[in-house]
């Protein structure tokens, strides 16, 4: 490859990267704006902790929803399925005294079965996903009311709530009168080192195969920013109660699903089905099977989110998870997923979820009413997608 084309490719790469980071930069600015508006309240250790815990279910759901969005569809039923699974868990534990680990496994299975039920209608009966999930939104909300007799079920035992409101093992240390949790700090440092090593490894590998790489200064800035944000969060958490368990759950999910979408045949098939279902089919992809598993997976994650939500609230309520589907869908689109399908990343969806979360949290802190919050969130979604489409039209 000549030098000229190398620099050209690098420029292209830089531009692509910039676009990818656009929403991250927006997220940063939104956070800073609320930092100013709330007199630094949104940087308080407890608030960072709340941000993580409050948004965990939306992040979990967004990960699954992204796969639906990639196929140019959505799942409207997740809010109801979350409520249903949470209710099922609460009833099993409180009414039938089933051991909590068994309850968790069974509830995840229920989520999986709900997903298969939807997948069956979508993939086998060929009913449009919009209709299937709309119908099941009503069905599972109704069933939740029925099995809960319209009442809240609680309180759940501490062993249960641990999942949503608990922490990883803690080692506290007194430093000048303040209590600091050591493992959070170490966790942040460990992750930072790991990130650097991974980046170096990937870069070496690329150079070995003579592939285009981003300029070193860009990689440096990227790593510095990520490590900075990461340690900002872990340090803040260390000043509170340490690392929440849900943070680990989210991290594992994001890693698994990023790997699946980027590096596996199954993930690539989801992109192909969303990009052009006819071409995918004629390339030997069983498109029905892809649709079936995308919705089955969504059901499983809704089950997990149901457990986490019930745990955090220490109870199951008939209204739990209301409009969660909208938050998850909005997160995907804010995070760059295309309404036409075939475009989107897990990281993007998580960033989208965080944008929504930071907005919610910030507006609550400065005392804006829930009504206004909805208006703002709606406008942000509209602006993000409009900007995305406008950019695409301009570049084509």
């Amino acid at each position: 490859m000549s030098n000229e084309t190398t620099t050209m490719n690098q420029k292209k790469l830089a531009r692509a990267n910039l676009k990818q980071y656009g929403m991250m930069i927006a997220l940063f600015f939104i956070y800073v704006i609320f930092l100013i508006l709330s007199d630094g309240k949104n940087a308080a250790p407890m608030n960072i902790n709340n941000l993580v815990m409050q948004n965990s279910y939306v992040v979990i759901l967004s990960v699954g929803m992204l796969l639906c969005c990639l196929t140019a569809n959505v799942d409207l039923s997740v809010g109801s399925v979350v409520a249903f699974c949470g209710a099922a868990a609460a009833i099993m534990v409180l009414d039938y005294h089933i051991a909590i680990p068994i309850t968790f496994v069974v509830v995840l299975l229920i989520g999986l079965l709900v997903g298969m039920w939807q997948g069956f209608f979508i993939a086998v009966m060929k009913v449009p996903p919009f209709i299937v999930t709309l119908a099941n939104m009503l069905v599972f909300r109704g069933l939740t009311m029925v099995i809960l007799n319209g009442q809240t079920k609680g309180p759940l035992p501490q062993e249960f709530t641990q999942v949503g409101a608990g922490y990883l093992p803690q080692i506290f240390m007194q430093v000048g009168g303040t209590k600091i949790e050591l493992l959070a700090l170490l966790g942040g440092l460990f992750a930072s080192v790991l990130l650097v090593l991974l980046e170096v490894h990937a870069r070496r590998n690329k150079l070995k195969h003579h592939f285009a790489v981003s300029p070193i200064w860009q990689v440096g800035i990227k790593l510095a920013v990520i490590i900075g944000v990461l340690n900002f969060i872990t340090i803040k958490l260390a000043f509170y109660m340490g690392l929440p368990l849900v943070l680990l759950i989210m991290l594992v999910l994001v890693l698994i699903y990023s790997f699946v979408t980027n590096n596996t045949v199954g993930g690539r098939q989801v992109y192909a089905v969303g990009g052009n279902v006819n071409a995918a089919r004629l390339s030997g992809i069983n498109t029905d099977k892809v649709m079936f598993w995308v919705y089955t997976n969504m059901g499983l994650l809704a089950g997990l989110a149901g457990i986490v939500l019930a745990a955090r609230n220490a109870s199951a309520t008939p209204k739990a998870g209301d409009t969660f589907e909208m938050d998850a869908i909005a997160a995907c689109y804010i995070g760059g997923a295309a309404v036409q399908g075939g475009v989107g990343t897990i990281t993007g969806a998580v960033i989208g979820a965080l944008v929504m979360g930071v907005l919610n949290n910030g507006m609550s802190l400065i005392g804006w009413s829930v009504d206004i919050q909805r208006v703002v969130k709606g406008l942000v979604l509209l602006a993000a997608v409009t900007a995305d489409l406008y950019n695409k039209r301009k570049s084509s």
């Binding site: 192909a272 052009n276 071409a279 004629l282 030997g284």
Partner: protein, 515 residues
């Protein structure tokens, strides 16, 4: 009688630099049925689209003189106002609306302020339907419940309500059976008696010579000649010669065939329409391809070539498929497309944008798509280094002009897109390749390169089947040609028998036999 109703003078129309029509002249006499004949892509439909305002005034050059008046049609509506109505091959009916609603679609009977007068609609619809022999139909019936033949008649009824004076029919009988065609042709003769002038585009020369008063032959965007029907019947041979008589220039790479034993064989292959399981689409087809051989499927549009190829490709098309398929001496029972790919069969579809490519993805992803599971992954984890290396290798090998394998395929030219599709299927390392219109819509230079790729595939010992509507192309690149018509093998030509006239004759004879 000899009064001229329409004259099109020096019509030239270009599509991104390619001349689809080049100085075409056409003269239609009042009250006649005038047939337009020509190969696929000769420019017949384009000419009619110019006339009816589908391509607005200014996008072409030349004059349209209609009833002594120079016309500048900007929309279909403006030509319809003058009484020129075109009925396209793809019918413009709304399947879920009733007959009456469809007859007055876009031309509704309204009282005031756009409120539809249903009584008037029904009355008028009844009137117009009885003039075309459909007076007994239930007007509230949905159009989708009617056969294609009746749907075609509804289109004509629609035209009649618009006070049509010049009716254009684009391949009106292509989708019709014998009886339905007969009804339609009779109706055309009837309309002629009522003084309506008719232009019909048709491949079916027997029908043309039956109803047409004069015939204009178009080839490669030029008018070749206009033949008047005198007392003698119009000679079909003369039309065929006019349609295909173009000279073969050096547009095809040299080919030294090294043909081996039979590697792919199909016997008594049958397939039915997936939407209408009583309708046979492929009827008792038997064929074979040898190692290193390029075999062509010739035929008219709608002859069933694509359907045949797709039914062979793991039942990608068709219902109740039966027959035997043998590859390298082993009988195959393919259940799915994946099955076909695993058994080293590849199908390159005729519509690369719709069926071949994921346009929003890059070259790399597109090229690896059909062999992800077999070639680019272990335990379903993709080896991205391998993917980059191999796709880059193929990009260079068949000379795809792109900045890198990470360029979005949608931004490539048609020829390069086609090469991406070819590369995708070459990467699946097939023994048998079914190439459906591999050079459609791409320029001459890219065509040559694609032919070279086809040659090298054959040289590598693969069995290649090429479907093409461009007969010279088949003559130029194939070792043997099957002529396909109405889902049957109508004939087979060896290389020394190749000629366009022969192919056309086989088709025409076969049409005659089926009728």
């Amino acid at each position: 009688m000899a009064e001229t109703i329409l004259e099109m003078r020096h019509i030239t129309k270009e599509f991104s630099g390619v001349k689809a029509l080049d100085d075409v002249n056409l003269k239609i006499k009042k009250g006649e049925i005038h047939a337009l004949c020509g190969e696929n892509g000769a420019g017949k439909s384009t000419l009619m689209n110019v006339l009816s305002g589908v391509y607005p005034y200014g996008t072409y050059t030349g004059d349209i003189v209609y009833k002594g008046e120079n016309c500048e049609f900007n929309t279909i509506r403006s030509s319809e106002k003058k009484g020129i109505v075109i009925i396209h091959q793809e019918l413009a009916l709304i399947p879920a609306l009733s007959i009456a609603e469809n007859v007055f679609l876009g031309n509704e009977n309204t009282t005031f302020k756009g409120v539809i007068d249903w009584d008037e609609t029904d009355r008028k619809a009844r009137d117009v339907l009885s003039t075309i022999g459909m007076g007994s139909e239930d007007l509230s019936q949905q159009v989708q419940n009617l056969g294609v033949g009746k749907q075609q008649l509804i289109e004509i009824a629609k035209a009649l309500t618009k006070q049509v004076e010049l009716l254009i029919l684009d391949e009106p009988t292509a989708a019709l059976n014998d009886e339905e065609s007969n009804i339609l042709l009779e109706l055309m003769l009837n309309l002629k008696k009522q003084g309506i002038t008719c232009i019909m585009i048709s491949h079916k020369l027997n029908e043309v010579s039956r109803v047409a008063d004069s015939i204009t032959v178009i080839r490669d965007g030029h008018t070749i000649e206009t033949i008047e029907k005198t007392d003698k019947a119009i000679e079909e041979d003369r039309i065929i010669k006019g349609m295909v008589g173009r000279e073969l220039t050096n547009r095809y790479p040299e080919r030294n065939s090294k043909i081996g034993e039979v590697v792919f064989e199909v016997k008594n292959w049958m397939a039915y329409n997936p939407l209408d399981s009583k309708r046979k689409v492929i009827n008792d087809v038997s064929l074979h391809v040898r190692r290193g051989e390029v075999v062509g499927f010739a035929g008219l549009m709608g002859a069933g070539r694509t359907e045949l190829a797709m039914s062979l490709f793991g039942k990608a098309y068709g219902k109740n498929i039966s027959g035997t398929m043998i590859k390298n001496g082993e009988e195959l029972h393919l259940k799915s497309i994946k099955d076909a790919i695993n058994h080293k069969i590849a199908y390159v579809s005729e519509d690369r944008k719709k069926y071949g490519l994921v346009l929003i993805n890059d070259l790399k992803w597109n090229m690896s798509l059909s062999s992800l599971a077999s070639r680019f992954s272990k335990h379903s984890v993709i080896d991205s280094n391998d993917e980059i290396h191999l796709t880059e290798e193929y990009r260079k090998k068949i000379n795809i002009k792109a900045n890198s394998i990470e360029q979005i395929v949608g931004s490539l030219s048609g020829g390069n897109q086609q090469k991406v599709v070819l590369a995708k299927w070459m990467l699946s390392e097939p023994d048998v390749l079914l190439l459906d219109e591999p050079t459609r819509g791409i320029d001459v230079g890219a065509k040559y390169e694609i032919y070279t790729v086809i040659n090298s595939l054959a040289d590598a010992g693969k069995a290649v089947i090429v479907i093409s509507s461009e007969m010279p192309e088949l003559l130029g690149i194939c070792d043997r040609i099957y002529v396909i018509n109405e889902g049957e093998i109508a004939g087979e030509l060896q290389k020394d028998e190749f000629s366009q006239e022969r192919i056309m004759k086989i088709i025409m004879n076969h049409i005659g036999r089926v009728k």
